[in-house]
């Protein structure tokens, strides 16, 4: 009887309840960084400052809303066309260079929109390489369209080139998972191969494409750097100017609330299309068996289209960036630059550590104590990926400042005038909390999916072999989670390196990072000098793409 554990049912229920309460509390705490800013911003709608509101609704909102809608529509259409067409070509067809383009078309993911933007603007600028060369050759440059013209075509094209990979990725996996069988079925029913593609393959991929486009829409709404380079006034830019230009917290909050309406629409679209995503009957990679061999002119048209996108979205900007960076390295590369890089690495590193720790805890909480509350908090906590950085920054700064005042008041009451001074809202704590709100989903995703692969049977197999508790965590869970944790850490690290608005708004005084440096150079129109810090960001961005493509080939 020595090994027999006896406990009364009542005792075990108490034990379980205590566990459940603890788990729910933990999940709630981890969801707070994402939830609080949303509540603060929603709350601002209910206590409109009438003076500010009068100003905003008259002079700011009409332009900003129209610009945002125009940008959204343009980018959605353009990324939809580019992403879907390229996905069809590389996933289903065969043409010269297909295997190269298959992964090379993902490379633009490594170049943040704002980098692509300043390279394009700098290249096409009056003093840029193109116009200088044309003038030197005696060519007229007047007829060139102005990329920064206020109708926004420039920012639409640039953002589309930066964001189409989202649509490309999802549409590609849709086409690959469909399998050839459905197309064959359609052809036995009298459709030509081309008609089958239009009437069967494309409609089947529609939810994936829609999901990709709604991701693009969320990124577009969140974008701050690109529109800043183009001086194109959207919500994010208006929030930033309200914050730093007008020093008006309430204006920033109200604009953020309006922006959130757009975001919620995009989020709803994304959720709805995801729920319609179904996996086709064929096994993945079924097209590889027999692709549609493009013939004659079509082969070279496909090659030209893929090359054009690859050149414009990656190769040319990357080369231009390198040229500028090398040109200015001698004069700009000094101790200060070392500081930008170190601060970027420190921020990205500590954000990755904090967020991955939170992700592991959250993943275990939802696994061990799966229930409506823990699941709700997990979902709320990871909602931040949809919320623009400007919104989160403002929405976290305000309650942080309030909390800081309360804390200071309490400290003074407790210790008198000699009490230590605290300044939470201007400290790294605020930056990290905001990062956590924005990027928890990025770290949680890979951790959670690798934890879900550890089935209950795996646990029970270990238990039946006498391996339980900490030994089981060490010998079974940790080795299986390692890849998920590493993947999540890399993704968060790179996202933080690229991140601009949160860092700009919440960073402690003097904490300039590489992205901040890029912003400062571009606001001064120093396009070429922005290249040096941007190169580091782009190189870091190549790492997750390497991971992504390696995983892709591993699965196939």
């Amino acid at each position: 009887m020595s090994a027999v554990a006896a406990h009364s049912p009542a005792g075990s229920r108490w034990f379980k309840d205590r566990h459940a309460t603890g788990a729910v509390a933990l999940a709630f705490a981890l969801a707070l960084p994402a939830v609080v800013p949303l509540l603060v911003i929603a709350g601002s709608l209910f206590q409109l400052d009438t003076e500010v509101w009068a100003h905003l609704s008259r002079y700011v909102l009409p332009e900003v809303a129209l610009n945002t809608v125009k940008l959204l529509a343009g980018v959605a259409v353009l990324t939809g066309i580019i992403g879907t067409a390229l996905a069809w070509l590389t996933a289903v067809c065969n043409f010269p260079g297909r295997r190269f383009f298959d992964w090379a078309l993902l490379l633009p993911l490594s170049i943040p929109g704002y980098v692509l933007a300043f390279v394009a603007v700098g290249f096409l600028d009056y003093s840029g390489p193109l116009q200088s060369a044309m003038r030197a050759a005696g060519l007229a440059t007047k007829w060139l369209p102005a990329i920064r013209s206020s109708n926004g075509w420039g920012v639409i094209v640039v953002l589309s080139l930066a964001l189409y990979p989202y649509v490309y990725l999802l549409a590609r996996s849709a086409f690959m998972s469909q399998g050839r069988r459905v197309l064959e079925a359609a052809q036995t029913l009298g459709l030509t191969a081309r008609a089958a593609a239009w009437r069967v393959a494309l409609p089947m991929a529609r939810p994936w494409i829609a999901a990709g486009i709604s991701l693009v829409a969320m990124e577009t709404l969140a974008d701050f750097g690109t529109v800043s380079v183009f001086n194109y006034n959207t919500f994010t830019k208006a929030i930033y100017s309200a914050w730093f230009g007008m020093f008006s917290v309430s204006a920033a909050l109200e604009l953020a609330a309006f922006l959130m309406l757009f975001v919620l629409a995009a989020l709803w679209l994304e959720r709805r299309s995801r729920s319609r995503v179904r996996y086709g009957g064929g096994r993945s990679g079924a097209y590889a068996e027999r692709r549609i061999e493009l013939q004659g002119k079509a082969r070279w048209l496909a090659f030209a289209a893929a090359s054009l996108v690859f050149l414009l979205a990656f190769l040319l900007p990357f080369l231009q960036l390198l040229i500028w960076a090398i040109k200015h390295a001698a004069s700009d590369l000094d101790v200060r630059y070392f500081g930008f890089a170190v601060r970027s690495l420190l921020l990205a590193g500590s954000a990755a550590a904090v967020i991955l720790a939170a992700s592991v805890v959250l993943a275990y909480v939802t696994r061990v104590q799966s229930g409506p509350w823990t699941n709700l908090f997990a979902r709320l906590g990871t909602l931040g990926y949809a919320v623009p950085g400007t919104v989160l920054a403002v929405g976290i700064f305000v309650p942080m400042a309030w909390f800081n005042n309360e804390l200071q008041g309490w400290l003074i009451a407790a210790f008198g005038d000699g009490a230590p001074r605290v300044y939470l809202q201007g400290s790294l704590v605020t930056v990290l909390v905001a990062y956590m709100a924005r990027f928890l989903a990025v770290g949680f995703g890979p951790v959670d999916s690798s934890l879900q692969r550890i089935t209950r049977n795996i646990d029970e197999a270990a238990i039946s072999l006498g391996v339980t508790g900490v030994a089981m965590l060490k010998r079974v869970h940790l080795p299986l989670l390692r890849t998920g944790i590493a993947t999540g850490a890399v993704l968060v690290f790179v996202d933080v390196m690229k991140e601009m608005p949160i860092t700009l708004i919440t960073r402690p005084f003097g904490w300039d990072t590489l992205a901040v440096r890029v912003f400062e150079m571009t606001t001064e129109g120093e396009w070429e000098r922005a290249a040096l810090p941007a190169v580091v960001i782009v190189l870091a961005g190549l790492v997750p793409i390497a991971l992504l493509t390696r995983r892709g080939t591993h699965v196939a």
Binding site: M1, A3, V4, A5, A6, H7, S8, P9, R453, T455, N457, I458, E460, A461, A462, I463, S464, L465, G466, V467, T468, R475, V476, P479, L480
Partner: protein, 347 residues
């Protein structure tokens, strides 16, 4: 007895998954719980493993109490090995490390030698350095078995061990697994919904329905002496023919008076349903009893004919495949029973 279950009951809220389950398994025997999905067989197995507590009854192994109401010995302490339906191999470990996983507290050398011995027994020494995803389903299955057997458990549990394999492999592997279990003299309890598998593997088979064990017996007895109508129906093929008991040695039916031992529970005059297996209905051209063929299934060595009686009742008959008749033909048959299997008449 090596494994003893008495009155085991397990509920989930209002639903009773297992109730009043009694069975015993001697050392070295292979037992099998057989039944349709949802009959409670897997829950019963998980109670033995200790992954489910019992709400009533007791489970003993080698005389040690494992489970009773309020008492559940932790699974890790039971010395019971388990083979899971999806094998649940550890994906990050090689085949050899998977097999050696349960051998803790021993030196590395001993562990490795034992794991290699187990791999030799299941015939997979060559796969020792591979990872689970690099070997076939049948090989994964045998690795899972080797892993469960390596710590020399008192009892091995197998949960639908062959359901993830294709049909050809199932037949071959079930004999192989039986061989392996017998070679190491393991006591095993498996769960399946496939009676061919149960008959091929097990010394003792229990048929379960709605959480109850209807009969716990040798396969031969289950087929020839089913204890309940459900067992008679579930095991093998057959038809029920209405009849009336004339005496302890005879039953009067539509086919005339059939002789055979009538179970003592039925007195003269009882209305019964008589079980006729296809091998009780013999092909006989000389027989005066000629019945119409309404369905036929060619099975290679023989035909299974469905024959219709004037009242509309049907019989099944197994006939050597040389006698190829068409639908609608009448063939002569003779009934041969040595004992009568009967159940109270329905309705």
């Amino acid at each position: 007895m090596w494994l003893e279950m008495q009155g085991v009951e397990r509920r989930f809220g209002q639903t009773v998954a297992v109730s009043g389950l009694d069975l015993s398994l001697p050392q070295g025997a292979i037992g099998c719980l057989l039944g349709p999905s949802g009959c409670g067989k897997t829950t019963a197995l998980r109670c033995v493993a200790g992954f489910e507590p019992v709400d009533a009854g007791e489970i003993h192994a080698r005389g040690r109490l494992l489970s009773s109401r309020g008492i559940t010995a932790p699974p890790a302490t039971r010395n019971i090995g388990m083979v899971f339906q999806d094998y649940a191999l550890f994906p990050h470990l090689t085949v050899l490390d998977n097999v050696g996983f349960g051998l803790h507290g021993q030196s590395r050398n001993v562990r490795e030698r034992r794991a290699l011995d187990m791999l030799a027994i299941v015939g997979l020494e060559d796969c020792r350095a591979r990872y689970p995803h690099e070997i076939s389903g049948g090989q994964q299955q045998r690795v899972a078995l080797a892993r469960a057997l390596a710590p020399q458990p008192d009892l091995v549990l197998l949960d639908e061990p062959f359901s993830n394999l294709d049909i050809d492999l199932r037949g071959r592997l079930s004999f192989e697994v039986r061989e392996i279990l017998k070679r190491v003299n393991a006591t095993a309890l498996l769960v399946t919904h496939d009676q061919n598998e149960a008959f091929a593997m097990a010394d003792l088979v229990g048929v379960m329905q709605n959480g109850r064990l209807e009969q716990w017996d040798a396969p031969y007895e289950l087929y020839h002496r089913p204890a309940t109508r459900f067992v008679a129906d579930f095991i093998g093929q057959g038809a029920f023919l209405p009849g009336e008991v004339v005496s302890q040695g005879a039953v009067s039916t539509e086919l005339g008076v059939l002789s055979g031992d009538v179970p003592p529970a039925f007195g003269a005059g009882s209305q019964i349903d008589l079980l006729l297996r296809p091998d009780d209905v013999l092909y006989d051209e000389a027989s005066p009893l000629a019945l119409e063929i309404v369905q036929k299934a060619f099975r290679g060595a023989d035909f299974l004919y469905t024959l219709s009686l004037p009242t509309g009742a049907t019989l099944l008959s197994l006939v050597p495949s040389h006698f190829n008749h068409s639908l609608g033909d009448r063939i002569g048959v003779r009934i041969e029973l040595d004992h009568i299997v009967a159940f109270p008449r329905l309705r």
